[in-house]
């Protein structure tokens, strides 16, 4: 590495710095109030009463992820025991157990249609299974095995049954055509592992959170980065769109959760648990967007009034780190996965 920058590099560095300062200045210019001040006259939120409705038992090792189907009833979970389980959360029954070729699964997702599930992890692959078709051994047929990653698969979302977008440890986001089994598009996304992704299909937008502490907003049709959001002081573990589509929430190793507004291009609120001594690993919002949920290393899910910023209790029951959180589209049912080998449904 040369000890001193050449004139061209030095000039570019200066320009980049100036542009970053310009962005920050512009954001500040639009910061004419705080969310707290703007919501001071809004009605208080009553105490949230949610309890464990179902304990989904079946995994025999840490569960690393869970995700609802679009039908708000079926749920997929992935565990280091090397299995995906598809659950009927209303009855608590296992619908399918899918043995995986690699036990190091980090993410598992359901297609909104309910027809497919996808998973991946330290195998550096994304594997898609057909929930409605079994192979000769009686387990869900593998539709596609997507290789071509130079890092672990950390997150993915079905854009439709035939298309999936992924985020990975090689800092890329990739869109795949599942019918052809080919990459449609790919881009370097962050300067650190991509940890998490949230999709707002109606707006063709995704947000990605990374180890580089930034959150980026992308047009999923072009994979062009629209905006970059700063604020977190450590890895961003999870991101989730607000149902309004105007904002998104995040959860971080820095023990905070934050709300970022897209059109004013900035962080507008920060949420801390009463004793903020644990990383927040996953986040989501309730159906109306009024309640923020964040899973923690402290084994609970913290709840806040998203508008007023006030902590509103937590969901207690798991006995180890919360790894995944999924709110059903209907709003009836919040699923959590944990290192305690369990999956719970709350409501």
């Amino acid at each position: 590495m040369p000890p001193k920058d050449d004139p061209e590099t030095a000039k570019l560095k200066q320009e980049l710095q100036a542009l970053i300062e310009q962005c920050k200045g512009l954001q500040k210019g639009f910061s004419d109030t705080t969310l707290e001040a703007a919501t001071s006259s809004a009605e208080d939120l009553p105490r949230i009463k949610a309890t464990t409705r179902r304990m989904l038992k079946g995994h025999i090792n840490k569960v690393t992820s869970c995700h609802y189907s679009g039908d708000s009833r079926h749920l997929v979970s992935g565990s280091l025991d090397g299995k995906l389980i598809v659950w009927d959360t209303w009855t608590g029954n296992k619908i399918q157990v899918i043995p995986l070729r690699s036990a190091w699964v980090m993410c598992s997702v359901f297609a909104p249609s309910g027809n497919y599930v996808a998973c991946g992890g330290m195998d550096n692959m994304c594997t898609v299974y057909d929930v409605n078709n079994r192979d000769s051994s009686g387990t869900a047929k593998i539709t596609r095995e997507l290789a071509g990653y130079e890092g672990f698969l950390s997150t993915c979302r079905f854009l439709e049954d035939g298309k999936i977008v992924t985020g990975s440890g090689d800092m890329m986001i990739t869109v795949w055509d599942l019918e052809a089994g080919k990459k449609l598009d790919q881009t370097p996304a962050h300067v650190g592992d991509v940890c998490s992704m949230s999709l707002k299909a109606e707006l063709n937008l995704i947000v990605t959170g990374s180890v580089d502490r930034c959150i980026k907003l992308w047009d999923v049709r072009t994979l062009k980065c629209v905006q970059t959001f700063f604020g977190h002081e450590a890895d961003v573990n999870s991101v989730c769109f607000h149902p309004s589509g105007q904002a998104f929430v995040s959860a971080s190793e820095d023990k905070t959760s934050r709300l970022f507004d897209i059109r004013s291009d900035q962080q507008v609120c920060i949420y801390r648990p009463p004793t903020a001594n644990s990383s927040l690993t996953c986040c989501s919002v309730s159906q109306s967007g009024r309640i923020l949920l964040a899973g923690s290393d402290d084994s609970t899910v913290h709840l806040w009034d998203l508008l007023k910023g006030e902590h509103n209790g937590n969901l207690q029951g798991h006995e180890n780190r919360i790894t995944g959180l999924s709110v059903a589209d209907s709003g009836i049912g919040i699923a959590t996965s944990s290192w305690d080998n369990g999956v719970r449904v709350w409501g």
């Binding site: 004419d32 109030t33 309004s244 004013s264 309730s286 109306s288 309640i291 009836i332 409501g347």
Partner: protein, 66 residues
Amino acid sequence: MMSQVQAMKKQVTQLRQEASVQRIPVSQACEELIKHCQEHQKTDVLVTGISPSENPFKENKTCNLL
């Protein structure tokens, strides 16, 4: 693999685009967020609670035909 200079030039172009994004005041953004939440809150069961008629988790009671 692009050179460091090429990568930085790309970053400059990207940042110029991001700087030119149309922004709205935080006050307006908050107003609209509040409006969305309040409009949908009444049907948000995490706020209101799950009513017995819409509760998919309740145990099915057996019927006794008399």
